[in-house]
């Protein structure tokens, strides 16, 4: 992989002016993939087969093969079935789906329509966090354009496939990005995640089969249909192919969203792509894929690439590919406390280990941050994280536990230095 990324031409958001305008999108081959799948060459199951072969791994954080997920939908029975598109984008450090809304909305819309065709869905809901009101309006306009051209609605392009497509605005709740919480929110309720099983493919919106995909995941679909699974799997890292919208934030010279292949060396991303650490400072730490992915030490990044395998080996995860870069002056205790505050604030409170655990983490970290902690508090924190993991309805509790465990383990000296020297603190 090494420096292959330097010659990469973006495919999700190519550099074409006004691509958000449907006429420009059409002039550049837009909606050809939809036309193709509605033609005689494709069937719903052959679309699923191609997408599965492409191994588009979910860009919402969990990295699940999209085609495989679609294949879990039961046989159509003539009743409603749904596709719910996840545009909640609330994981701290993540700000990439909004780029698709703003700069290539029709690629996503086309991808969602193809997905709906493949799974024979009758309605598509696009859930977008309420704060993104300007982007919701952009999507409403784009959807209207697509309705007007006959790509959405009854008997699309003369075929017997019909589907409706609506936006649905959230109203401020990170938990609604969790897929079953999002379904509750779409049903007009508080966003309490549902116990699984039953899984949404069996029992989703209003008890009907439903599939949930991230925006960026769906935007890859027309590319796979147009160019084939082989083309897609030839890009980037073998086990996590395709291009990725990397969101780079924190203390770098050129923060922003960049589209590059998966598997770019993390140090290239920071130093070459994002222009290096601000003010010539040294790199201290990176969170590679949103706040829940374990922090990596700056001095342990040699050879680490942005794909699931390499990051797992390094002790973290790809998550949403939202990198947060921290320089040598960053106070890791402050940062970890702020992350813990976030998860405590966003816990829905249904499960005791999560509700109580996130509260404890925040409280004890605040104590340490204020210089009132003791070294045994660090072990208490680690203990709390093990009690939270794998015991809850949804993965928020895990997402809250991981950063605490790994930040303490990887920057233990800094945490100890903030603790009071209690009598038995000889360690």
């Amino acid at each position: 992989m090494a420096s292959e990324w330097k010659n990469f031409e973006p495919v999700l958001i190519p550099d074409i002016a006004n691509l958000r305008n449907i006429d420009v999108y059409l002039d550049n081959g837009g909606y050809e993939a939809l036309k193709a799948v509605l033609g005689s060459e494709w069937t719903p199951s052959s679309v699923i087969g191609e997408v599965k072969a492409a191994n588009i791994r979910g860009r919402g954080g969990a990295g699940f093969n999209a085609g495989l997920k679609w294949s879990f939908m039961p046989e159509p029975d003539g009743k409603p079935r749904y596709l719910a598109c996840n545009g909640d984008e609330s994981e701290p450090g993540t700000f990439k789906d909004r780029k698709l809304f703003e700069f290539n909305p029709h690629l996503f819309i086309e991808g969602a329509l193809i997905a709906a065709y493949a799974m024979q869905c009758t309605t598509i809901y696009l859930y977008i966090r309420g704060e993104y009101i300007d982007w919701i309006h952009m999507m409403d306009r784009a959807l209207q354009q697509a309705y007007d051209k006959g790509f959405i609605g009854e008997n699309i392009l003369g075929s017997d496939f019909s589907v409706d497509f609506y936006t649905h605005s959230g109203a401020g709740a990170y938990i609604c990005g969790e897929e079953t919480s999002m379904l509750e929110s779409l049903e007009g309720k508080r966003g309490y995640p549902r116990v699984k099983p039953p899984f949404p493919a069996q029992n989703g919106l209003w008890g009907r089969p439903t599939t949930i995909n991230n925006i960026e995941t769906l935007a890859n679909v027309p590319l796979v249909i147009n160019k084939g699974a082989d083309w897609f799997t030839s890009i980037g890292a073998r086990n996590h192919p395709g291009s990725i919208l990397y969101g780079i934030s924190g203390q770098v010279n050129r923060p922003g969203v960049y589209e590059l292949p998966s598997g770019v060396p993390i140090l290239d991303l920071i130093h070459e792509v994002a222009g290096g650490v601000r003010n010539g400072k040294k790199l201290k730490a990176v969170i590679p894929g949103g706040s829940s992915t374990p922090v990596l030490r700056g001095d342990k990044l040699e050879g680490v690439t942005m794909d699931s395998d390499s990051l797992r080996e390094a002790g973290s995860m790809l998550g949403t590919a939202g990198l947060v870069v921290m320089d040598e002056d960053t106070d890791m205790v402050d940062v970890l406390w702020r992350i813990a505050h976030f998860y405590h604030h966003e816990s829905c409170g249904q499960c005791t280990p999560c509700r109580e655990g996130t509260g404890w983490l925040e409280k004890v970290l605040l104590k340490i941050k204020n210089g009132e902690g003791e070294i045994r508090d660090l072990d208490l924190l680690l203990d709390v994280t093990t009690q939270m993991e794998g015991r809850t309805i949804c993965a928020l509790a895990d997402a809250a536990a991981w950063p605490v465990r790994h930040t303490i383990n990887r920057f233990r000296d800094e945490f100890e230095a903030r603790c009071k020297r209690s009598t038995f603190a000889t360690a």
Partner: protein, 178 residues
């Protein structure tokens, strides 16, 4: 004040209801319509929404309480939602928050006496690459905040001028790094 929807809003609500197989999913969108009209969704507004949708008040109340963007009481004319979450924190979000508190003479969560400004601290708004940032009254995002930019924005708002939407293009790899 009497809270009611006019004909146009009621038509809009009917259209929203048609998007779903039942009425309850219209709860969030209709709370939004109400908040945009009345500035908040306090108890009386919740009652109106419940009546309009023919849903239990307890349901509407529960939903309004769950979501942070719904204002359960009246706020200032401009609500300044300053992000202090991860990326904004490391890029000086707290400095911006404290500067605003000092400048407006109120603490986070409070409203200025003239009813113009409320300061709130919020979680990640999905603008991490443009940190530190804030959102104004559930609307426009203001990015890359500095003290000078804060001064400008506040001055503008006092004259009723909202900042414009800032489009943040995709970043390209610097040609010299290719």
């Amino acid at each position: 004040m009497e809270y009611r929807f006019d004909k146009e809003e009621l038509d809009q609500i009917e259209k929203i209801k048609a998007r779903y197989p039942e009425v309850r999913p219209a709860t969030l969108p209709v709370l939004w319509i109400a908040q945009n009209k009345f500035g908040h969704v306090g108890p009386k507004v919740q009652k109106l929404v419940a009546k309009t949708l023919d849903l239990p008040e307890a349901h509407i109340h529960g939903v309004a309480e769950f979501y942070t963007q719904y204002y359960k009481e009246e706020k200032g004319k401009f609500v300044l939602d300053v992000c202090t979450c991860l990326s904004c924190q490391v890029c000086g979000g707290y400095d911006i928050l404290h500067y605003l508190e000092e400048k407006l003479g109120i603490e986070t969560g409070e409203t200025t006496e003239d009813g113009m400004f409320t300061i709130q601290q919020v979680e990640c708004l999905g603008a991490c690459g443009y940190a530190p940032m804030m959102q104004i009254t559930n609307g426009v995002y203001v990015n890359h905040l500095t003290r000078e930019k804060v001064d400008e924005v506040i001055e503008g708002l006092k004259n009723g001028k909202l900042p414009q939407f800032e489009s943040k293009e995709m970043r390209k790899v610097n040609p010299q790094d290719r």
